[in-house]
């Protein structure tokens, strides 16, 4: 049997083999596209429910997969509250009592400050690149943009909330245009859609993302970037228990 035939057979029986490498590369590029080497962003999160809505604003810093910091700027009651992530550890800075409280890992799967995003979506303890296996599952056009559909399964050892995630990634600019989050029973729980594609920090970015819990009618959370700066030099020590008290 020729070498080529062996590969052909392999791909027939293990279709993931061929696409896994590419799929991971696509996810890596998409992740890199919104993250840069470092990013400093300002965003607004609006929680929408059938009878009311609430809004909060924040500033976020990130460097690679391992370092992130979030500072709440409104509402007034939560202003100054901070979150610091270093690798897999997360601390919560409480300005009223001037202390960092270390958060239990199980808190990462909780909704973040009552939004439809989990803590993990925001603080990104889990990495869409490292903590999942990836497979190309098709192609589809979303809002006039041709997208790869990537099927992601969490690695067994990874502390991931979801059973499966499907991502729609724009072929040309590697923007994440849509995502579906499934639980361990394979049921669709959250649907994320992106819109309002424009230049932010010198990159083409969907400025608005909507997270919709599909089983809860009339509920959604809308996240809008108002400003992003990519690749501003930030030292690792910027992400420290010292700086979370000082950042503005």
């Amino acid at each position: 049997m020729s070498y080529r035939a062996l590969i052909y057979l392999g791909c027939l029986f293990f279709p993931g083999l061929l696409s896994a490498q590419n799929a991971t590369e696509i996810v890596r590029k998409a992740d890199q596209h919104v993250r840069g080497n470092t990013s400093v962003s300002e965003l607004t999160i609006r929680i929408i429910r059938p009878t009311w809505s609430r809004e909060m604003t924040m500033k976020a810093w990130s460097k690679g997969d391992d370092l992130a910091m979030i500072l709440i700027t409104s509402p007034a009651k939560d202003r100054g509250t901070g979150f610091l992530k270093r690798k897999k550890e997360v601390w919560n800075w409480l300005p009223a009592i001037e202390r960092n409280v270390k958060l239990p890992p199980s808190m990462m799967s909780q909704n973040w400050m009552g939004t439809d995003f989990t803590n993990d979506d925001l603080v990104k303890e889990a990495s869409i690149v490292v903590d999942y296996t990836h497979e190309l599952a098709g192609e589809e056009s979303i809002g006039g943009r041709n997208c790869f559909i990537i099927s992601m399964l969490p690695r067994p050892e990874a502390a991931v909330v979801w059973g499966k995630v499907l991502l729609w990634i724009d072929k040309k600019d590697f923007m994440m245009m849509k995502a579906e989050y499934y639980d361990e029973e394979g049921e669709l729980i959250n649907l994320m859609t992106s819109r309002d594609v424009r230049q932010l920090g010198g990159r083409l970015i969907p400025a608005t993302m909507e997270m919709i819990p599909v089983k809860k009618k009339g509920n959604k959370t809308v996240m809008t970037y108002t400003q992003i700066v990519f690749d501003q030099p930030l030292t690792d020590n910027f992400f420290s228990i010292q700086n979370i008290q000082n950042v503005k």
């Binding site: 929680i47 609430r54 270390k102 890992p105 199980s106 909780q110 909330v161 690792d236 010292q242 503005k248």
Partner: protein
């Protein structure tokens, strides 16, 4: 600090008390003043409801922050409280008690002290911070917060607080000089000195903290008043659950006869379920507790020390919290001590009316064995309204 200057500041604070949005509307991109207005209506009763008594606390907090330069930051935080209601009449000395300032300087003023009306103002933060590179130096009234647990902090030697005083979320500050050196990420070395009771009490200690094996660790040594003290703490996790603990030991080495050697420690665990339930459990042990007879009696104590965070040898805590949705959550805390089977039941409901408006309903009930009877020593209901700006 001159008396005139001090009184003037208090007056300024009082004016702002009544016109809080005067300066909050400051049009600069970084407003200098934040704070809130709270109204806390409480209703207390003993076993039969015939003893019903009520009190209202109108409470305003103003936080001033001035970033003088990239290195210097000044903070001044005032707390103005107006108490009124018939319950005050049955509490002689209440005004003096709530207006007690344990600091080096008295930054507290008791404006009105009538049988059913008390008005008091205090600055519980007044500090200047110098921060450059890895060094931070803070002088003045500040919170030197060395605890890691969320319920009981035996290491919080500078400004221990009464855990039942839920309305004082900022907790007291102390008049201190604090030097911090941050070596990297989580590692830091700190030296702090605080003077209290107009210079009659002193606390001085050093703290070293570091992160290893995904755990935060800290060790401390120093003096708390007449005691030599040493402590250590950790914060980490077992699987997905948080796991934290603090130990402190106090050994009397000077001063009067009545001191006590104390070993105290607290361990806690907490866990969040996907369904928005959060559970936590903790215990506190004090090998040589004060001779206080009940939780109820201890709940009224204004000053608490890291040596006696609770009145009994053993205290067990369990808490259960559920966030029903982003605007409504409920939680219940229970504290139990084998001493007379004492129990504190501490349920609370929290509701957000709008982005800056919150409403909470809280209760505190005290139960204990008395001779052959299990009795309700007292219950207080609190309805709190808060507007933050």
């Amino acid at each position: 600090m001159g008396m005139n200057y001090y009184s003037g500041s208090l007056w300024l604070a009082l004016i702002l008390f009544f016109h809080p949005d005067l300066l909050a509307q400051n049009s600069s991109s970084k407003p200098l003043i934040h704070g809130y207005i709270k109204d806390l209506q409480s209703l207390s009763f003993e076993e039969d409801a015939s003893t019903l008594r009520s009190m209202n606390l109108f409470h305003n907090r103003l936080n001033f922050r001035w970033d003088i330069s990239s290195e210097f930051t000044a903070r001044l935080e005032a707390r103005n409280r107006l108490f009124y209601g018939d319950q005050l009449k049955s509490m002689p000395g209440f005004g003096k008690q709530v207006a007690r300032d344990e600091g080096l300087f008295s930054l507290t003023k008791l404006w009105v002290n009538e049988p059913a009306l008390v008005l008091t103002s205090t600055f519980d933060r007044a500090s200047l911070k110098y921060s450059k590179g890895q060094i931070g130096i803070t002088m003045g009234r500040q919170r030197v917060n060395w605890g890691v647990n969320t319920i009981w902090n035996p290491m919080d030697i500078f400004n221990a607080y009464n855990f039942l005083d839920f309305d004082y979320e900022e907790r007291p500050g102390s008049d201190a000089i604090r030097m911090q050196y941050f070596s990297s990420g989580f590692s830091a070395f700190e030296l702090a000195y605080a003077a209290a009771d107009r210079g009659r009490k002193h606390t001085a200690a050093a703290l070293f903290k570091f992160n290893k094996w995904k755990y935060d660790f800290q060790v401390m040594g120093g003096m708390l008043d007449e005691d030599l003290t040493a402590g250590m703490a950790w914060a980490g996790n077992i699987k997905e659950a948080g796991f934290k603990g603090e130990v402190s030991a106090f050994r009397k080495i000077m001063g009067s006869e009545e001191g006590r050697d104390v070993l105290t420690y607290s361990v806690m665990a907490d866990y969040s379920f996907k369904s928005s339930w959060y559970v936590s459990a903790a215990f506190l042990y004090i090998d040589n507790p004060l001779s206080v007879t009940s939780f109820m009696q201890a709940s009224g104590a204004v000053s608490v020390s890291a040596k006696n965070l609770m009145p009994f040898r053993w205290s067990f805590y369990s808490g259960l919290q559920k966030m029903f949705n982003p605007v409504f959550s409920a939680n219940v805390s229970i504290v139990y001590s084998p001493e007379k089977n004492s129990v504190i039941l501490f349920p609370a409901l929290a509701y957000s009316l709008a982005d800056n408006l919150n409403l909470d309903l809280t209760a505190q009930s005290f139960f204990a064995q008395e001779k052959n009877r299990y009795v309700t020593e007292g219950t207080t209901l609190f309805l709190r309204f808060r507007w933050s700006f």
